[in-house]
């Protein structure tokens, strides 16, 4: 009683660093500053080179690419806009055809040039004219050509895309049920380009009511329309505000359409739909909780197992990862060890880990790390699978970004989920076998890296080794791999969390008697 330290609650200072973080599912950050890795060319904005309908009567010559000097092209463009202006002003006989011809010429210039003269078109005043051509009651051909022009203008640079603002209400109006399918599709394309530009424009489109009609365009089974609508929707809901994603999932029929297309359609269409799922699951917990209760997971796993298309596999992997990270129902109720689907997903992920593609390896490791954050059963399943040698090999030889994801898998496999008392414990067998295979070295490399998340992970694993291996075996191993030196680098680190964690480990496991290091 006399000593003042006596009544201080004794706490194990070291258990906190591991627990929560090492066994966590990780969602990708909703906000991203990095380039979108969609791997498909022109993903966010797409130029429309060939019309939405092949049966439209387009004169043959327009199939050829224009190879003119840029200056000539610009001159042609401004005269085409001038021509359009005249055609609109013209009231006499054949006025409609005149308009269509002028539009077609402008469209040809905007779609058939290597570097479309978008800027010239805008400065010549094309936008208000094109908006005028979208007025209701106009012929489909006119609407189509005007929308096509706008589509390609919107595919330009940011300020060029923004120039479409005055035309947005009409473009949105034409994706409703009153317009023909072809017109609607072309308008959706233009809107998709606008939505791809930025969050502010997405806000405008949503406030003008673009979400519902675009969603309904996904319902039919017409391949190209659904593809365009899916792509435009994926642009429209990608946040970072989750509101649009949540609204989309609540629209009647959307879930059914997504499932139907993923079940039946070709890979190209499935790719677009999968991207919609990516954003739904990344941003909206509501959407995620709806989707995990359907057979979406089954469909995604089948696609993952059967497809070899990189373009499709990436959004499928990303969706799976999000669904697992976003809702515990996924691992608790669907991907249960013993269910066939669980074995299939692990096999499919192993396929991706083995692939040549860096992105697939990285995404697959990320998904696996989220499964590995599940129950002890999940961990054992992965541990006994063919993934083990792959993981060990990747951890030592892969480039940094893949290595880091793999490290999350390994870390998660070694820690059991927290039980009622909130205290996660380590899984001894797994830890020992990873350490025996030389994994500690890979983690110590991470500790030395400049990436602070990776460094934290490395420290957490080291803590497991130090705490978990009996008879001071952990100390010896960490020592042998020069881990003490790696930790001591954090002695004065700017990141407080890492500094404390590393210093605690050094003090606790490698400290000499009192007085040596104040």
């Amino acid at each position: 009683m006399a000593d003042e330290s006596a009544a201080t609650p004794r706490r194990d200072p070291i258990k906190n660093p591991v627990g929560n973080t090492a066994a966590q599912r990780r969602r990708q950050n909703a906000v991203s500053v990095g380039k979108e890795r969609r791997e498909a060319l022109f993903r966010t904005k797409r130029l429309c080179r060939v019309g939405v309908s092949s049966d439209m009567d387009v004169p043959d010559d327009s199939d050829m690419m224009i190879e003119e000097e840029q200056s000539i092209l610009e001159a042609q463009t401004s005269s085409a806009v001038e021509e359009l202006k005249n055609a609109i002003a013209f009231q006499g006989k054949g006025a409609v055809q005149k308009k269509v011809n002028a539009l077609r010429e402008l469209r040809r210039l905007l779609s058939r040039s290597e570097f479309p003269p978008i800027e010239t078109a805008i400065t010549s005043g094309a936008i208000p004219l094109l908006a005028q051509c979208l007025s209701f009651g106009s012929q489909d051909e006119q609407l189509l050509e005007a929308a096509w022009c706008l589509t390609n203008i919107a595919a330009g640079r940011p300020e060029e895309t923004r120039a479409l603002l005055p035309a947005l209400p009409l473009l949105i109006a034409h994706i409703g049920e009153k317009s023909s399918m072809l017109v609607a599709e072309q308008c959706a394309w233009a809107l998709g380009n606008v939505a791809g530009e930025g969050e502010d424009l997405r806000h405008i489109l949503i406030s003008q009511g673009a979400l519902l009609p675009l969603a309904k365009m996904m319902f039919p089974n017409k391949g190209s329309t659904v593809r365009t609508a899916g792509w435009a929707l994926s642009n429209l809901i990608k946040g970072p505000d989750p509101k649009a994603a949540t609204e989309l999932i609540k629209i009647d029929g959307v879930v059914e359409a997504i499932l139907r297309h993923l079940r039946k359609s070709d890979e190209e269409l499935a790719t677009e739909i999968a991207w919609v799922v990516v954003y739904l699951s990344a941003l909206s917990p509501v959407a995620t909780s709806v989707l995990v209760k359907t057979d979406l997971l089954q469909l995604l796993v089948e696609r993952l197992a059967t497809s070899n298309s990189l373009q499709l596999l990436i959004p499928v992997l990303r969706s799976l990862g999000n669904l697992i990270a976003g809702d515990t129902y996924t691992t608790n109720a669907v991907l249960v060890p013993g269910h066939e689907i669980t074995d299939s997903i692990i096999l499919a992920l192993i396929k991706c880990l083995k692939s040549e593609h860096r992105v697939l390896k990285k995404e697959a490791a990320w998904v696996l790390s989220n499964i590995a954050a599940g129950s002890v059963g999940h961990k054992q399943l992965i541990y006994k699978s063919e993934a083990m040698p792959l993981l060990i090999q990747l951890l030592t030889t892969a480039p940094f970004d893949i290595k880091k994801e793999v490290a999350y898998v390994v870390g998660n496999l070694c820690v059991a989920p927290a039980d009622g008392s909130g205290r996660p414990s380590l899984i001894f067998d797994h830890l020992v076998s990873f350490v025996k295979s030389g994994c500690l070295r890979g983690f110590i490399d991470l500790v030395r890296s400049a990436d602070i998340e990776a460094a934290r992970l490395g420290l957490q694993f080291m803590e497991l080794v130090l705490r978990g291996l009996p008879n001071g075996e952990g100390q010896k191993l960490v020592e042998k791999e020069d881990g003490i030196d790696a930790m001591e680098r954090f002695q004065f680190h700017e990141n407080e969390d890492l500094r404390i964690m590393a210093n605690q480990l050094v003090d606790k496991y490698f400290g000499e008697d009192y007085g040596l290091d104040e």
Binding site: A2, A7, V33, S421, G422, R423, A450, I452, E479, L516
Partner: protein, 966 residues
């Protein structure tokens, strides 16, 4: 504060006076300013003064510093007197143009002030800032006003530093995105435009200097923006960035570089910033970077070969080698696989950088503290010697055998060159020793190491021992230092007989005039004394140092007399360690206490080095404890020596030392047999000065001293209203969560040591202040402390006394406390003594109090038993949940000393229930006895109220003591 000529005059005069050499006007001015700082718009007025061209530059500078400091303490809304929002807005509007038009010294202050605001407001609360900076940057660039350009870039650089060293999270990414959207493109165009201007200004040294600095700042901004993730804009424009970067690594700027060391340093700073950037890309964005990799490796390589051969250029060399190190550990390590390349690396990069330079020698002589910090304590990560070894380690990750073979050969070479002409080639030997030590693998136990490079024992014999046996302790001091360091590092591997034979030599080096050498000798001895065999057994004991103890202590105290070693922490630490281990005879004790007291009196004049001071107090505490334990007759002599010094610390208010002084006093009080001599009672009265208790660092030490007094002289407490004063302190401490625990430490010894009759009149007041605190903020710690206090009260003064005393506050209160506080929280008690105390008290309550034995209280009885069984049967970590530490922003009163516990002045834990050895046995026996009296009454209650797990545990407890509850 209104802005008018009077204000201008007043502030100008104040700032002028703060620069006055006369203390009187200076203090008055400082006081006036600190009073004025509380009025609104003070910051604004000072800023206006800074901007006033008619005012003397010196005054404006001092005002700018004051302005920055004013913002530092008051910008944050949670500060005690925050600046109002309206004033903030005005400051934000004024500061950017003011900063840009200011003279360099004022600009630096305002730029810092701006960063202070930015830390809190940028970007969300200051949306105008970045656009403003951006447009000013453009204007300045167009006008070729490079002073402003650099001012703006420096500001942006400090604003963006927040993106370094952070974990990724959505809020931080949103801020980053905002900065990227606004500044990524302007940054690139700035870099490109400056690059054009650099080419044009090739011969204009002054302009070129500014431009190169601007480029450096751009590189630093690049680093901040790319730290968290690779932004899209930078990926899209990677070609442009990389070609700029490569340019600065390969181009020379003779007009600046050849104009002197600072010119070269300026360009090297830019190149170093580039190296940081490409290292970062290499590490985190290797996929993008790989196509540029070989070009950069070549450029960095060529730069390094030149830089390694020249003196200075440390920073460039370090960052450049770091880049190669990262490449060597990446998937592209094969770039370094060739035999020829490995040979070149060791020969042209590693060896020249490990070899001692003039700068190293200078540091060794001029600033031994810094030299040791780098050389011995691992703060040398950023020195060329160390980073060169890091490169070797990096390559060894994949090509261990090849590296080992080459480095061994180099070591051999170095030693051979040394052997040819030891006097001229001594640096080669130093190089060999450095390589062995730096490439060793660290092992458990602080700094002990192992190596594959050489056979440690034979290297020690042939290379190190001759140095240690050198008779002139001042000759070739760097080699001597290297040898002592080697001995220290490999101390575990050096067999005891060999080490013992050299110990005398090491003691001899304590008398070297070279600071590093006597420091390393002290450090070597100190660490040797800590070596443990099998992790427990000290390898060197008092028997080993006994024969040389006198000369050892003489040399140690002698070293403290050498110039610049008056406060040498390595020496003092060694003194402390020796005193902890050696057999201290009165012949040694007496000069030691005199020596230590002399040092203490000296450092009291001006406490500087906290480590030294801590070791000093620890050494004194050790000496007192060990000498007096063995020989109590020494106590008066020690008191004679020490008390005047301790009293001086209190009298002269050397506040840094208060916590130490109180701990030493407590130790002395403990050593006295009651009655405590009267001179101590004066100190007791000082102890009751409430002001002392305001400083949180004093509190644990004061509590410790108070406890000693309470135990040694309980009756003294009863005189002159002292008890009332002590209880006042208790009240004060217990009223705040940060010191509540200390409060109980004051109260517990009173409860434990005084008779109830003495404290009866205060108890009702004590309880009610505790229960009020409980009502206002019920922290888990408070609850635990309260249970322990009630337990202590119960075992010391009886159950009924406790119940009556609590109920005197309010009828039936005890019942309520028992039900709502005691029982539910019993299981959170931790610590052996505390668990024992509360278990015994709870069991007594359970079995001996009429309140609980009342048949109507059977639920309460059952629940209490359940709690007791949990407490006794489950290990601490399974019962106790983590609780978040309560953040507590206690007021800071004046200078803050920190409390550091003196290991050797500590108290042994006192057990208030020494008579009870096994609390489990005691509890079960009491219970069994009770159930024998009331046969059949308790089993149904147990079945109903005790959890099944605890029922099983209880049964097991009964079985293990062969008792039954029937």
């Amino acid at each position: 504060m209104e802005w008018n000529p009077q204000t201008l005059q007043f502030l100008s005069q104040c700032f002028l006076d703060t620069l006055s050499p006369q203390p009187e006007p200076r203090r008055r001015a400082e006081k006036n300013l600190s009073d004025a700082a509380d009025t609104s718009n003070y910051g604004l007025a000072v800023l206006r003064l800074v901007a006033e061209p008619s005012v003397d530059e010196q005054i404006r500078q001092s005002a700018a510093v004051n302005f920055k400091n004013h913002l530092k303490t008051r910008w944050v809304p949670s500060s005690a007197t925050p600046i109002s929002d309206a004033e903030k807005e005005q400051i934000k509007q004024l500061i950017v143009p003011l900063m840009l038009s200011a003279s360099p010294k004022i600009q630096a202050q305002l730029s810092e002030a701006l960063a202070v605001i930015g830390n809190h407001d940028f970007p969300k609360l200051w949306p105008a800032l970045l656009p403003e900076l951006k447009s000013n940057l453009e204007t300045a660039l167009n006008a070729s006003d490079f002073a402003s350009v650099n001012g703006i870039l420096a500001t942006v650089n400090s604003l963006f530093k927040k993106f370094r060293h952070q974990y990724k999270s959505d809020p931080i990414l949103l801020d980053l995105k905002y900065c990227l959207d606004n500044f990524a493109a302007p940054l690139l165009s700035t870099v490109e435009s400056i690059s054009v201007k650099i080419n044009a200004a090739a011969a204009l040294a002054a302009t070129l200097r500014q431009l190169i600095e601007a480029q450096r700042l751009c590189c630093r901004i690049f680093y901040s923006l790319n730290y968290l993730d690779l932004p899209e804009f930078f990926e899209d424009n990677a070609d442009k960035w990389m070609s700029q970067f490569k340019n600065y690594l390969t181009m020379r700027y003779p007009a600046v570089e050849d104009s002197g060391a600072d010119g070269l340093a300026l360009v090297d700073e830019l190149r170093a910033a580039v190296c940081d950037n490409i290292s970062h890309y290499m590490e985190k964005e290797e996929e993008l970077f790989q196509k540029y990799l070989s070009g950069f490796v070549e450029a960095v390589w060529s730069l390094l070969v030149v830089a390694s051969a020249s003196p200075s250029r440390e920073r460039l060399t370090v960052t450049a080698i770091k880049f190669l190190t990262i490449v060597s550990t990446s998937v592209h390590h094969a770039l370094f696989a060739g035999d020829e390349i490995l040979q070149q690396i060791t020969q042209s990069i590693v060896i020249p950088n490990v070899m001692l330079r003039d700068e190293d020698e200078e540091l060794f002589e001029m600033n031994y503290v810094e030299f040791i910090r780098r050389d011995m304590e691992g703060s040398d990560l950023d020195t060329r010697r160390r980073i060169a070894c890091e490169l070797l380690k990096g390559i060894a990750g994949n090509y261990k055998d090849k590296i080992t073979e080459r480095v061994s050969a180099q070591i051999h070479n170095c030693l051979a060159l040394f052997a040819e002409n030891p006097a001229a080639n001594w640096k080669y030997k130093d190089c060999a020793i450095y390589l062995v030590v730096s490439l060793a693998t660290k092992k458990a136990g602080g700094a002990s190491v192992s190596t594959d490079l050489v056979d440690v024992e034979s290297f020690f014999r042939s290379v190190i021992v001759p140095e240690l046996q050198g008779q002139d302790v001042n000759a070739f001091p760097m080699l001597k230092a290297g040898a002592l360091k080697f001995f220290t590092m490999f101390r575990v591997l050096i067999p005891k007989p060999i080490a013992m034979a050299l110990l005398g030599d090491v003691v001899r080096f304590l008398s070297s005039d070279v600071n590093v050498v006597h420091s390393y000798a002290a450090s070597c001895i100190e660490k040797l004394l800590l070596v443990k065999d099998n992790g427990v057994q000290s390898r060197y004991t008092s028997l080993d140092i006994g024969p040389m103890l006198l000369v050892l202590m003489t040399n140690l105290f002698g070293a403290l007399e050498k110039p610049e070693s008056e406060e040498n922490q390595y020496i003092m630490r060694c003194i402390m360690r020796v005193l902890q281990i050696a057999d201290i005879s009165p012949e040694v004790a007496s000069p030691c206490i005199t020596g230590l007291t002399t040092v203490l009196n000296r450092v009291c004049e001006n406490p500087k080095n906290p480590v030294f001071n801590h070791c000093l107090f620890e050494a004194i505490a050790t000496l007192v404890r060990r000498a007096c334990e063995k020989n109590p007759s020494l106590v008066p002599a020690f008191e004679t020596c020490l008390l005047p010094s301790l009293q001086m610390i209190l009298a002269k208010e050397v506040t840094e030392f208060f916590p130490y002084a109180f701990q030493l006093l407590a130790q002395l009080v403990d050593l006295n047999r009651p009655p405590v001599p009267p001179h101590y009672m004066q100190i007791f009265d000082i102890l009751l000065t409430p002001d002392l208790w305001d400083k949180s660092a004093n509190v644990p030490a004061l509590v410790r001293l108070l406890q000693s007094f309470l135990q040694q002289a309980p009756n003294e407490l009863n005189r002159d209203g002292r008890l009332r004063n002590v209880l006042g302190i208790f009240n004060k401490l217990v009223s705040k969560p940060s010191t509540e625990e200390q409060g109980f430490h004051v109260l517990n010894p009173i409860i434990e040591n005084l008779g109830y009759d003495v404290m009866a009149e205060y108890m009702s007041h004590i309880w009610s202040s505790l229960f009020t605190r409980l009502q206002n903020s019920k922290t888990p710690r408070l609850v635990r402390c309260l249970i322990i206090l009630m337990s202590l009260f119960l075992v010391k003064h009886g159950i009924q006394t406790l119940i009556d005393s609590i109920n005197s506050v309010q009828a039936n209160l005890f019942h309520l406390i028992l039900e709502q506080i005691w029982i539910p929280n019993l299981k959170t008690i931790t610590g052996n003594t505390e668990v024992k105390l509360s278990a015994v008290a709870s069991t007594k309550l359970l079995c001996e109090s009429p309140l609980l034995l009342d048949p109507a209280a059977e639920k309460l009885w059952g629940n209490l038993l359940d709690g007791i069984v949990t407490l006794l049967s489950q290990p601490e970590e399974e019962r106790v949940e983590d609780e978040p530490e309560v953040p507590d922003f206690g007021e800071a009163t004046g200078y803050q000393a920190t409390f550091v516990r003196l290991h050797n002045a500590g108290k042994k834990e006192e057990d208030p229930l020494k008579e009870i050895r096994d609390p489990k046995h005691f509890s079960v026996a009491l219970l069994a006895n009770l159930s024998a009296q009331f046969r059949g009454r308790f089993p149904p209650i147990i079945a109903r109220y005790v959890s099944p797990a605890n029922q099983a545990a209880l049964l097991q407890l009964c079985n293990s003591y062969n008792l039954t509850i029937a």
